[in-house]
């Protein structure tokens, strides 16, 4: 039985989201759900599954470098009663096997949880082939797939358990590398579809997901020093998105911001924009994320900086927008 306490949270953060998922959470998942299978497309060791394979060889299958076949096999196993976790890099599982995702998970509703590792920019010097910056846009458009995007290594553990319990297809998007910054120092309740408001006061609301929750909290601290208060909301469930949370922010904020390690097209910001556009009055939304282009490779910090996703840059961009809004005379744009 896993203990959710601050000591463990610190240990898990060192392992990163992938490490806490496949090195810690899966053992608890197997304890609770005897019919679990884990499949990989030749990334067992990289995913940190070695201990799991040694302990539960009968619950593991390596399909080789064949993501499409992996999802077909996962679906067959799932329709025969298994709870299947299938994993490889997010870029490959969402794009190489995109139609398989649509067919086996979306259309046939197979109870398969795909776990995309290295999502966003975490694959650094492997380059753009290995970055997943369009995955949310792709998967979100497919009916019937729930999308979970944990904020830190602890939330990755909670996501693993929640996904196993949840009956239906899930895409789990793991971001960041080792030493994933800690968002949650104490235990908390996690529920699929319920956004978590981490800081509650302010007339700016930042919706963030994955690693960007931490950077948003840091950005909020910088803003506070400059006299601006920002609420930070962790959107760990991209689909179905918590519309109550958006509605509330729309009512009580002067500025809404979305931040994600994903293209500004079609991901978290896109989801919020789609929802807001149908509301009679809506607050301006600043969408921060990865620019709509393939850039040169670099280390993680470099890539975040290039996309203005470091806390100082986030704070600057929010401040700039916020000031513009405050200076705007009512009706001047009409």
């Amino acid at each position: 039985m896993l203990t959710f306490n601050s000591t463990n949270f610190r240990i898990w953060s060192k392992l990163g989201q992938r490490g806490s998922f496949f090195g810690i959470a899966v053992f608890e998942v197997v304890e609770q759900f005897h019919n679990v299978m884990i499949l990989t497309a030749d990334l067992a060791y990289l995913s940190g599954l070695e201990r799991f394979i040694n302990k539960h060889p009968d619950k593991f299958l390596n399909i080789g470098i064949a993501e499409q076949n992996m999802l077909g096999i996962s679906s067959g196993l799932a329709q025969e009663g298994k709870i299947v976790f299938a994993t490889t890099y997010a870029s490959f599982i969402c794009m190489r096997s995109c139609e398989q995702l649509r067919h086996y998970l979306g259309y046939m509703k197979s109870n398969v949880k795909i776990v995309g590792t290295g999502a966003g920019l975490a694959m650094t010097f492997s380059g753009n082939t290995h970055y997943a910056i369009e995955d949310l846009a792709i998967v979100r458009a497919i009916p019937n797939i729930t999308i979970l995007s944990p904020a830190d290594a602890t939330e990755a553990v909670k996501v693993a358990l929640a996904a196993a319990e949840f009956n239906g297809p899930v895409y789990i998007r793991l971001t960041g590398g080792l030493n994933n910054p800690i968002v949650y120092k104490e235990d908390y309740n996690f529920e699929i579809g319920k956004a978590i408001t981490i800081t509650t006061e302010g007339d700016i609301t930042i919706f963030a997901t994955g690693t960007m929750v931490h950077n948003s909290l840091e950005a909020a601290k910088i803003l506070k020093e400059k006299g601006m208060q920002a609420r930070v909301v962790n959107i760990h469930t991209i689909k179905p998105i918590d519309t109550d949370s958006i509605d509330y922010a729309n009512e009580c904020s002067k500025l809404l911001v979305s931040i994600e390690e994903h293209s500004t097209i079609g991901g978290l910001g896109g989801t919020i924009a789609e929802f807001l556009s149908s509301q009679p009055n809506h607050t301006p939304l600043l969408r921060l994320g990865i620019a709509d282009q393939f850039r040169h490779a670099g280390d993680y910090n470099y890539l975040l900086e290039q996309n203005r996703l470091l806390p100082e840059q986030i704070a600057q961009d929010i401040e700039k927008k916020y000031v513009t809004l405050n200076n705007r005379e009512p009706g001047t744009l009409c």
Partner: protein
């Protein structure tokens, strides 16, 4: 094989061909996949009439044999055989290609109606069948898995990923039937993308493979029984696209086509 059984299956095949033609005619201007539906009539008749264990009154019984139709456009003969064995009632069959019907040009998973897999996008059923066969082993179930794929469908890369994994996982509870009717949408399979000798390729991938005349009930029955332990089983069924209707046989134009009443009457008169 018992002569009586062979006669029964032949008579079942005749019924399936008739039903298939009626379904296609009823579909009217929407047309139907005639060629590849008719090439599989004897395979379906043999499989359901003499090989598999499955009961429409208990379709989810845990050990029922799993028929996974990856070649999802062969619905004319597939839905006809499901109707013959009580999985689809006459009213449901009559709803084929009507607005909102569960029965359209490709099958959609509905286990209570005997449909294990949603076909339509080619190549996807075989990987799924590998998963079902693996689950059979892991769950200690006695069912066999029968995956039906087309020869043109073997152009898809995922089919070869799946072939690789069948032998790798020692799936001797799997039989793959290739409907080798030699024609795909654009023409002769050897001209569009020549796959050479399918039996040799399957054997090289670790299968135990039998080649048969896919319209010969006796040969089909024997092929289904002729398996060896430890290896996945494949049957390359040499068939004729549009089999049983003189003006459709071996004509790529009948892959998906509209049947006029004149053509329908002529086709029925040949049965």
């Amino acid at each position: 094989m018992n002569k009586k059984k062979e006669l029964q299956i032949n008579s079942l095949a005749a019924k399936l061909r008739n039903k298939s033609l009626k379904m296609a005619f009823k579909a009217g201007k929407h047309g139907a996949h005639l060629g590849g539906g008719l090439s599989l009539v004897e395979v379906f008749a043999t499989l359901y009439g003499g090989v598999i264990s499955i009961d429409a009154n208990n379709p989810t019984e845990e050990n029922h044999d799993r028929v996974i139709v990856s070649k999802g456009h062969c619905v004319l003969s597939y839905f006809s055989v499901l109707n013959e064995f009580g999985f689809l009632n006459d009213e449901e069959l009559a709803s084929f290609e009507t607005n909102g019907s569960m029965l359209h040009g490709h099958s959609t998973r509905d286990v209570k109606r005997g449909i294990e897999f949603s076909g339509g996008s080619l190549g996807l059923g075989l990987s799924y069948a590998i998963g079902v066969a693996l689950a059979g082993k892991l769950n200690n179930r006695s069912y066999r898995v029968y995956a039906i794929i087309g020869d043109g469908e073997c152009n898809e890369g995922i089919i070869w990923e799946a072939f690789m994994s069948a032998a790798h996982f020692n799936l001797d509870n799997l039989t793959v039937i290739i409907d080798h009717n030699k024609l795909q949408y654009d023409g002769d399979v050897t001209k569009i993308m020549n796959m050479g000798n399918l039996k040799a390729k399957l054997n090289a991938f670790g299968f135990y493979t039998i080649e048969v005349d896919g319209h010969n009930i006796c040969q089909l029955i024997e092929a289904f029984q002729n398996r060896i332990s430890g290896k996945p089983h494949a049957i390359v069924a040499h068939t004729v696209k549009g089999k049983g209707v003189s003006f459709m046989e071996n004509k790529k134009e009948w892959h998906h086509a509209v049947l006029s009443s004149e053509q329908f009457n002529l086709a029925i008169s040949e049965q």
